[in-house]
Every structure is written in C-alpha cells, then in structure tokens.
Subunit: 177 residues, 2 copies
C-alpha cells in the first residue's frame, strides 16, 4: 500500500510518501514541504498548495492520501489556515478518485511512538528508525507527514477488521431478528 | 462592477451575483445555493463545491469574488466546514486570476442594514429592497451571498480612497524624511 501523508499548513505543508503493509518494514519513497509565502494573499497561497499537492500525486501515484484531522479547539490562531490547506489536499485527492483518510495528531503520535502525547523530537526519532533513514526529516512538518502515512498503513488493517466485525454482527442480528 | 458573493458552507454554500457601482441602483444577475449531502465524505463534498463554484464563475464571469471571512471563535462546531468550503471558493477564483475580497459578517450586515448586529430577516429584507426583488431570496445563505456582493460594491470605493490616502501619506513622509 502506498500512502501520501499530508500535514496541512499554509506556510509549510508537510508531504511524505510511504509504501508497505502492517507487520513488514516500510519504505519511504519521498518527503518534502510545500511552502507558500506568508505575505501572499490567501487565494494565491491556496493555488500554490494545490499545485504542490498535484505534483506529489503525479510523481508518486498514491493509493490513499492520509491528512491530519484539524480540530477547531487547538491553536485557534492558525487553525483556519490549517483547515483551508487540508481542504485543498482533500480536494486534490478526491478529484482523482483517491480515497482520503483522516487521523488525529494523537492517533499519529500513538501509532509511531506508543504515546498520544509524544513530542516532535520523539515522533521524528521514531519516523527515522521505522523508515531506516540516516537522519530525522526536517522540518518537523515533513516528519509529521511521514508519521501520518505510517499511522494509516498500521491502523488500516485494524480498522478493516473492526468494520468487518461490525458488518458481521449487523448481518447476524438481521438473521435473528 | 460584477461581484460573485459566496457565503461558504459544506451543506449549503450561498452564491449570488450583483452588478453595479456605489451610488447607483444595483442589479441581481443570479442567486442560488450549492448543496452537498451531509452523509458524503468530506473530500467528495469539496469536489462538489468546486464544481458548483466553477459553474457560477463560467456562467457569470465576475470581476471579483467576495467571500465571508471565517472566524475561528464563532460557531466552533461548524467552523471547520465553513473554512474548508471558503478555501475551495477562494481557490477557484484565484486559479482564474479573479481577485478575492473577504468581508466579516458584521461588515456585511452593517453595509446593507446599517447595523453590524442585524438579524437574518433584516438582511433578507434589505437585500430584497436594494435589488428590487419580488421576495427575499431563500434560503438565508443565498440572501447572505447577495449581501456580501452588495457590501463589496459599496465598500470598495471607500477602501480604494483609504488605500490611496495611506499611499499618499507614505509618499509624502518619504519626501520629508
């Protein structure tokens, strides 16, 4: 499974592509940051993010795009920009028929470090180890994008099993009703 | 001046086109709502909004798109969807090189009713009167989109004069420094 992780932001939008399946070593196919100038107007910044995401989709043809789920209660100052950048990433993926999955920051931290409250350094260290990199990806947004992709690959089988179990239970209830 | 007003929302995105200049009677060229199903996933909803906005831009070729400025402190439950829908509207405009202007809800209410705290009914009534319509546009999101366009047409000359005054003052300071 090939996943593009996107850590959305207007100034720095982290992007990282990871390939693999749960239980096997993972491979990093690319990592980077789509940047837009803080002094540009919002419309042009969104156009630049769209262009950047499109290039990553063209270059890596991911099967799924994993985007950080934005919460309105955190970082009120920057949350609007984050929501807007995430909208562009989801739009680009859905327009191509690529499924989008959302994961919360604590789900991502818990997936790669074992703790939902791990700090940036810990996430960076685990991403480096799990992908067998020479050094932690910089900036942190790039490492977070890889962590999102890893989180999705590892959580997907559990989510699928859960969905199958729920579906089976509903079907069995339907038979006994 | 022809302005497309957009009252952003995931479930109902109000759109309205107004033509005119400040100090002259205004003309409504179109009004409507782009709707997306609440049970669709977020990526597909954003694609549907993009398609809807594109159709309005194609049909009316506005010179400017006026979008409601979203604040994170209001309506925390729905603010993320509003921010994401507004991102799509701004992206569609900027991609075509159409300038985007943002106005706050209270600027819009003050422009059309004289009070920044006017209610929906008052805004609807004034939009109906100012555009000489037979009845208030329904739903409220459609009326709000028209109010945004009117607000922009009326505020633009003042904003231009202000910018010119600031520029003149800076230039004069530059000469005396």
């Amino acid at each position: 499974m090939r996943v593009l992780g996107v850590d959305p932001g207007l100034t720095r939008c982290g992007v990282g592509v990871v390939e693999g399946v749960a239980g096997r070593p993972l491979t990093m196919l690319g990592v980077g940051v789509v940047r837009t100038p803080a002094d540009a107007d919002i419309g042009h910044r969104l156009v630049a993010i769209e262009r950047g995401i499109e290039e990553w989709l063209d270059a890596h043809r991911p099967e799924l795009v994993a985007v950080e789920r934005v919460f309105s209660q955190h970082n009120v100052r920057t949350v609007m920009g984050t929501a807007q950048a995430s909208a562009v990433a989801m739009l680009c993926a859905s327009r191509r028929g690529i499924p989008v999955a959302l994961h919360t920051p604590s789900e991502v931290k818990a997936a790669v470090t074992g703790s939902g409250r791990a700090d940036k350094a810990q996430v960076g260290a685990m991403v480096t180890r799990l992908l067998r990199l020479a050094a932690p990806p910089k900036p942190a947004d790039a490492a977070d994008a890889l962590a999102l992709a890893i989180c999705h690959i590892w959580r997907a089988p559990a989510q699928n099993r859960l969905q199958q179990a729920v579906a089976a239970q509903l079907a069995s209830k339907g038979r006994t009703a």
